[in-house]
Symmetry: C2
Subunit: 119 residues, 2 copies
């Protein structure tokens, strides 16, 4: 029910390596990974769920409005995190030489159908 959308996001993103639909508790609902070589994308998603939880908490404490999106750029990857509901988010990992703008667009564009499938 989620797989088709997740596959589409990764396959249509140049440089896309994987996407995961996950609860803020770090438990994945569904995921789609290409062969990512040397990084453990499941672990990436779990680790980033802690980061997202921290950012969400921070945004609430500060009254800056609910967390919507986080983009992280590291030496080798981009991670795009998009809040879907109060309980779930989606995280796309792509290579630095990939197309961040396209990946972010696809995550946003497919967020509605992921939300609909979640409820």
């Amino acid at each position: 029910m989620f797989k088709d959308t997740l596959e589409k996001i990764v396959n249509q993103t140049p440089g896309g390596v994987g996407v995961v639909l996950m609860g803020y508790d770090g438990i994945a609902v569904d995921q789609y990974f290409l062969d990512s070589g040397d990084i453990d994308l499941q672990l990436v998603a779990v680790e980033y769920s802690n980061v997202v939880k921290e950012i969400r908490h921070t945004a609430e404490v500060l009254g800056t409005g609910a967390l919507q999106e986080v983009t992280i750029k590291t030496g080798r990857y981009y991670v795009v995190i998009y809040a879907l509901t109060d309980e779930y988010f989606v995280a796309l990992t792509l290579k630095r030489e990939g197309n961040l703008g396209k990946g972010r667009y696809l995550v946003r564009h497919n967020s509605f159908s992921l939300c609909q499938a979640l409820v």
Copy 2:
């Protein structure tokens, strides 16, 4: 020594409300805030330093390369965080109706002079 650069970043960013040059320990080196109304930008920076520390740690653990940049979008603000050195980062807060692209460009563009002033 940092103030001119920090002022320039905020004043040239449409919707810019404040910028802080900060250690990962949450202690600010210098900052420049416009009247931001209802949010405490000093507190925003301190809270986000915890987030950045968490992301940096995560990136190291996962071997995804060093953290370079984080963009956070909440209901009312954007926060652009840019890693300058192993010890310091700069964080720009701007309103949602502001120009994120211009703000991010100005942070990147001025990062070299901030780094030079730090060492």
